[in-house]
């Protein structure tokens, strides 16, 4: 009897707990005090948007009160229907693809923003001034379903800089171990180091064979590494040095024509050479299965001989930063240098959508329209003035970034204080209203002097293209299998046990011929329309 009573009590308590939990969990989301509720994707480390000074300021100026609620990116990626979330008016940081935007749009579940231009003076001004942005934002039915993020610094097209360990080369010079034929003096070891590809390879071989860091172990040095297929710091420029405008999508614009680099004879030659570098241990095999954070973690203690990344400061701990210098794009045997451009977009499409269930669309859009003003854009992108991202006083009408964040690193500070998202920062902004961060300026200077001059003639980034529904569906099918097949062939060719054969390469091309042709045809048609609409 006693047992039964205990059992029943336990069950009842359990049920009560669960019920209470469910009630509170479900009740927590609704809040009637605010005018609007916006769902955003935010990691826990980022400060609460509701208390961020920039949003308080916005609320004061517009008189519109927005309540931000959050999904972490892990929650959000498991959310199959974010647009169906109850009680929200908009989603910020949607990350929706073209197809998804259009799918929601034509079902009428998100708002066609172009119909509310009257409430958005800033946005409509941008669209008039920049027909390329207007064109990029359009869905197949001609409507604009999302607010964009525009951050034009001229950086994203060149995401790779080659750094080499100067200290190790100095050691080679001191010990008389410089490879035969390589004549380097210590004076030459500054940013902009000029090397032939064969010289670079010979140096890597020394890095591999010798105990470069004097720790008694010859095997802990990593001669060359990168993050294969990553948006920055990938191996594209190494392949490009063979004379093919490579990027991580293997697709670029060459003299107005959309082209696959994999079809180029030189690409195959580059892959064969890459295989050789991998097989002989010059490129660490981790380069092909590490992610960004692993790459960064391993590099902190200065064990990389050479690596591709945008800026060395993130890769290296403070005491190692001065050990590395920038290498110019590698020269081929004829002394020519080649660099491709990436297809990373400076105009990102699916940043924010308004749900059709929103009751006051004009109101909410007029609020988001403020985001496009330079001062707000800058604060959204870097952190608010009050939190110390910028100096309190403007100079010559320009916001001046504050580089001193105390113990916090600049990356940490920005990650915690800046909500990012819908911004409009262009050359005009840098010229008139906001001074570029010193880090970005440094990166830009580096790119201007060491990378951009060597970009292929006639090569350009593929812009945000606009497809018809039929094209989108066709593209979706072909691109999926094509990128799978290329990735799989490429990885095997480079790190497999046997060198890639010409037949296997030809086979890759012929098996995927239909897909290659379809993707090129659709892209080209869309690109032609883009040119027509914007010129």
């Amino acid at each position: 009897m006693k047992k039964i009573i205990i059992g029943v009590t336990a069950t009842v308590l359990w049920v009560v707990c669960v019920t209470l939990f469910v009630v509170f969990a479900m009740g927590g989301g609704t809040n009637t005090e605010h005018q609007f509720t916006v769902l955003t994707v935010k990691e826990d480390a980022v400060k609460d948007y509701n208390s961020m000074p920039v949003f308080r300021e916005l609320a004061q100026e517009t008189g519109i009160d927005v309540n931000w609620i959050y999904n972490t990116s892990a929650q959000y990626s498991n959310n199959t229907d974010p647009v169906g979330t109850k009680g929200i008016d908009a989603i910020y940081h949607t990350g929706f693809s073209n197809l998804k935007l259009y799918d929601y749009g034509r079902r009428g579940r998100i708002v066609a923003i172009d119909e509310y231009m009257d409430s958005m003076p800033n946005f409509s001004r941008i669209l008039t001034a920049r027909p390329d942005i207007a064109e990029a934002l359009k869905s197949p039915d001609g409507h604009i379903y999302s607010l964009p993020r525009v951050e034009e610094m001229g950086l994203k097209a060149y995401p790779n800089i080659l750094y080499i360990n100067k200290k190790w080369i100095e050691k080679l010079i001191d010990d008389g171990n410089l490879p035969a034929g390589v004549n380097l003096t210590k004076d030459q070891l500054t940013d902009g180091l000029d090397l032939y590809r064969w010289e670079f390879k010979a140096i890597l071989q020394k890095f591999r064979d010798l105990d470069m860091d004097n720790n008694g172990n010859k095997d802990n040095e990593v001669p060359l590494t990168f993050v294969s297929g990553n948006w920055q710091g990938n191996e594209s420029d190494l392949i490009a040095s063979f004379g093919v405008p490579e990027n991580r999508e293997h697709k670029t614009i060459l003299n107005g024509k959309i082209t696959f680099t994999i079809e180029d004879e030189k690409w195959f030659k580059a892959i064969t050479e890459m295989h050789d570098w991998c097989a002989s241990g010059l490129i660490s095999s981790a380069s092909f299965d590490q992610d960004e954070s692993q790459f960064l973690a391993h590099g902190q203690d200065g064990r990389y001989g050479a690596f591709y990344w945008w800026e060395k400061d993130t890769v290296l701990a403070k005491e190692y930063r001065d050990d590395y210098v920038i290498v110019l794009p590698l020269k081929d045997d004829d002394g020519n240098r080649y660099v491709g451009v990436s297809n990373e977009q400076e105009v990102e499409k699916g940043e924010c959508v308004i749900l059709s269930s929103c009751e006051d669309k004009e109101g909410l859009l007029s609020y988001f329209d403020k985001f496009f003003e330079p001062d707000y854009s800058a604060q959204l992108n870097y952190g608010s003035i009050k939190s110390g991202a910028f100096l309190p006083n403007k100079e010559n009408g320009k916001l001046i970034p504050n580089d001193d964040h105390g113990a916090q690193s600049a990356d940490d500070f920005r990650m915690r204080n800046a909500p990012y998202g819908v911004v409009y920062l262009t050359q005009e902004t840098w010229d008139n209203s906001v001074q570029m961060e010193s880090r970005a300026q440094l990166r830009l200077d580096n790119l201007n002097s060491y990378v951009k001059p060597y970009v292929f003639e006639g090569v350009a980034t593929i812009p945000n293209l606009n497809y018809t529904q039929q094209e989108l569906l066709e593209l979706n099918t072909h691109e999926f299998s094509l990128s799978n097949n290329i990735a799989s062939w490429y990885t095997q060719a480079v790190i497999g046990n046997t060198a890639p054969t010409r037949e296997s390469w030809q086979n890759l091309l012929s098996v995927n011929r239909d897909s290659i042709n379809a993707v090129l045809r659709i892209n080209q048609a869309a690109y032609d329309r883009y040119i027509e609409a914007t010129v």
Binding site: T80, D81, V83, G84, S97, L99, K100, D103, Y104, R107, R109, R208, S228, G229, C278, A279, S280, G281, S285, A286, F288, D289, L473, N476, T477, H478, F480, S481, L482, N484, N485, A487, S488, W489, Y490, T491, Q492, I495, G496, N497, V511, N512, D514, S515
Partner: protein
């Protein structure tokens, strides 16, 4: 020996035995109940003898049916109720749309066309088939052999010890399992480092990036985890073998080995056939979770299977209709295989599910 068996295994065995009893006894039941009721069968009753038998049976033992209600409800709610979702295969669907409603966009077989016109369709199909058929060829006989061998051991202690040793890996979770595999076989893993220490080529041994290594890794790690667990069912069946048969065989001078083939194996044949039919019915659906976890750009050539395609193209890429069509196609193949297996075994061994 039956002490060590889990209750589920015993239940399985009992189920199968009662199935057999049902079949043999179907005709007898009617007569038996008629006799019990003291109601000799007349012409009128002969018209629906089975129905009458059922009725009597129900009257007497109907309350036992209560016990299967939870299982019935479970299957109804979690297996049959969601099945209307396959309609998505014929729709242009997004989460939030109603599956049957005024706003449903029907597209006929468009999704299937998209799926079949995928240039890699046959590769995915072949990969799925090969992975599963090899898995079946290795994984099906292994537990039978292990069970027969364990059953033939003289020392109960050794047998018990081995059994625990064999089924312990079953409790390692999938993610941990793949993590272990990567530590041992991946780049910079144990094997890679060993091979370099021993003077292998500088590129090392990167099994996770080698397409040829994917299937062996997948199948052997899977079987290593599960052969002991699957053997339990057979051990249960073996425990039901009449010791008298063994005695008789011994008298006739049969060796230990001979008795395995002539006594043990025939005794568990119905169990083997039944489990074979069931696993043939699942042939095309090896779990996608483990495949996804083990997938790298290097082994895509062999590791991209239909279910990972459904996951990546259907769910991640938002093509729910195409994903459902692919899943439905996979299920149809499974059903066809199941029917063929059932039919064949009925013809050959007179054992079948229906």
């Amino acid at each position: 020996m039956s002490n060590e068996l889990t209750s589920t295994a015993l239940e399985d065995q009992l189920d199968q035995q009662s199935d057999v009893v049902d079949e043999i006894g179907a005709d007898l039941v009617e007569q038996a109940y008629d006799a019990l009721d003291g109601n000799p069968a007349d012409d009128k009753k002969k018209k629906h003898p089975k129905w009458e038998a059922w009725k009597t049976n129900f009257r007497r033992h109907g309350w036992i049916l209560l016990f299967i209600i939870p299982a019935f409800v479970y299957v109804l709610i979690f297996c049959y109720a969601p099945m209307y979702g396959i309609l998505v295969a014929f729709q242009d669907y997004m989460p939030g749309d109603s599956i049957i409603g005024s706003d449903t966009t029907w597209v006929g077989f468009q999704n299937f066309k998209t799926f079949f016109s995928n240039p890699n369709f046959w590769d995915y199909f072949l990969n799925t088939f090969l992975l599963c058929i090899f898995g079946f060829l290795v994984g099906f006989p292994l537990p039978i052999i292990v069970a027969l061998l364990l059953n033939s051991l003289r020392s109960k202690k050794v047998k018990k010890g081995l059994q625990i040793l064999y089924y312990a890996p079953h409790f390692i979770s999938l993610v941990v399992m793949v993590g272990m595999l990567k530590l041992i076989f991946g780049s910079d893993g144990l094997l890679d480092q060993l091979s370099r220490q021993m003077g292998g080529d500088a590129g090392g041994l990167k099994l996770f990036l080698t397409p040829e290594a994917f299937r062996p890794l997948f199948i052997f790690s899977g079987n290593w985890q599960d052969f002991g667990w699957s053997a339990i069912v057979y051990l249960a069946a073996l425990s039901g073998v009449d010791p008298a048969l063994h005695e008789a065989a011994k008298m006739d001078g049969a060796s230990r080995f001979r008795r395995i083939f002539s006594v043990d194996l025939p005794a568990i044949l119905p169990t083997i056939v039944m489990l074979m039919i069931l696993s043939v019915g699942n042939l095309m659906s090896c779990g996608y979770e483990k495949v996804l976890l083990m997938q790298t750009a290097g082994n895509l050539e062999t590791s991209e299977i239909l279910s990972t395609y459904v996951y990546k193209f259907g769910l991640m890429n938002g093509q729910y209709g195409v994903g459902t069509a692919a899943g439905l196609f996979n299920s149809v193949i499974n059903v066809v295989l199941l029917v063929i297996a059932n039919f064949t075994s009925k013809k050959l061994t007179n054992n079948s599910m229906w």
